[in-house]
Subunit: 244 residues, 2 copies
């Protein structure tokens, strides 16, 4: 069996997220699996580096799949680009070692969250930003973001209340910067819990509004979901890169 | 009568161009006039700095209109932003001198044309670029573009074969640059004939393919339409700025 790695980008606007599920006919994983199964004439299942929620985008999603087919990677790539809708792009397709697994081997991921800090988003960016018109203190938000660095119990930032496994994660860098009318939250960590990035950003926005203080962030480690901030919408989030 | 100026941006993908016409219910001008007439409770007609074709975008379109209403510009702006669809944005609304006319007073316009020079466009830019996968010689195209600078008879670059007025126009700057997989054509002039930018870009692309030589460009002045290159699609074009 060959093992093939795909580097994938998508505009998630039209999709109900990455994961193929019986009740989700409109997933990115499903679209790619259907196309691959048709191209290779064998049933294909792909493993993504992780799920992305409904409306979330990716510039650097990674997935792998096993196949019997001997079709060259160049041909698979060309056919995939033809069969897939224009909001899903395949940046590369290459054979990798049989032991490579896109999810299990992922060492680090970077996400970016984009807030449009004015009443209406730029028409060209509207699908990729969340509008929050109120005044936000970017410097406080960036200071608060630094409090999350390191390995901590992020239980308060996990949507799944009955999560049985460890909620410890390590955040390596977390930057909050203004670019004109836009505020970008860029975070890199060894892994993220369900909704973790969106709850972290929601909590920082509450800091930006003055409802929380930066130095209170460390009080949230090991707490219940209710203690952390609100969940920001999916459309502002993009999976930028996965490192192995 | 007050005279009000609007600075407008739009993603032209869904529209049949700027101009309201009896047989075009889906124009940007029409959308804005309908919204303004409802907000101000009087019939409003707007004059744009110029028409943009179906599928063409704008970051810096300018228009003006006259009204009796005494509603403040802040209120007009806020209501317009609420009533207009999310692919039309109003960046500013302000009262101007009674003599200002968006089309007649325009001194200079800048357009940008974006070519995605690879098989598939980036999923995030796909609405704003035209895909031309063949190898193109950017240096030759930029050299050819310089041949258009100055005041010349651009009859060969005008879609309207029976155009009665002068086809003389002055091009001030014209740059062709590669940015990764993208090639950007940026042109500034005192005005442009119907389809002129798109035929100029089509002619330069024929230079980029080696089908024309840069020094042949000056032979096209005062010629018939057939002598110039092909018309590139509207979706790669954006009206960037209008100066007064």
């Amino acid at each position: 069996m060959r093992n093939v790695r795909l580097d994938i980008c998508y505009d998630g606007t039209r999709y109900q997220g990455w994961q193929r599920l019986a009740n989700n006919p409109n997933s990115i994983q499903g679209k790619i699996e259907t196309a691959l199964s048709r191209i290779l004439e064998e049933p294909i299942e792909i493993s993504g580096s992780g799920r992305t929620d409904a409306g979330v985008h990716a510039r650097g999603q990674v997935a792998n799949f096993h196949c019997e087919s001997e079709m060259s990677c160049e041909e698979i790539l060309e056919k995939l680009q033809t069969y897939l809708p224009e909001d899903i792009g395949i940046d590369s397709c290459k054979e990798v070692s049989p032991r490579f697994h896109a999810r299990l081997n992922a060492k680090e991921k970077t996400y970016e969250y984009r807030v449009w800090n004015s009443t209406r988003p730029c028409v060209f960016e509207r699908r990729f930003v969340t509008v929050i018109p109120e005044s936000l203190d970017v410097e406080s938000m960036d200071r608060a973001a630094q409090e999350f660095l390191g390995t901590h119990d992020f239980s308060a930032f996990c949507a799944n209340k009955n999560f049985k496994k460890s909620t410890q994660r390590c955040i390596k860098t977390f930057e909050v910067q203004r670019h004109g009318e836009e505020i970008r939250f860029r975070v890199t960590g060894n892994g993220f819990l369900h909704h973790m990035v969106r709850i972290l950003v929601g909590t920082l926005i509450e800091v930006g509004r003055g409802e929380r203080q930066p130095e209170e962030m460390t009080n949230l480690f090991g707490q219940k979901r209710e203690m952390a901030g609100f969940l920001v919408p999916g459309k502002g989030l993009c999976l930028e890169e996965v490192r192995y």
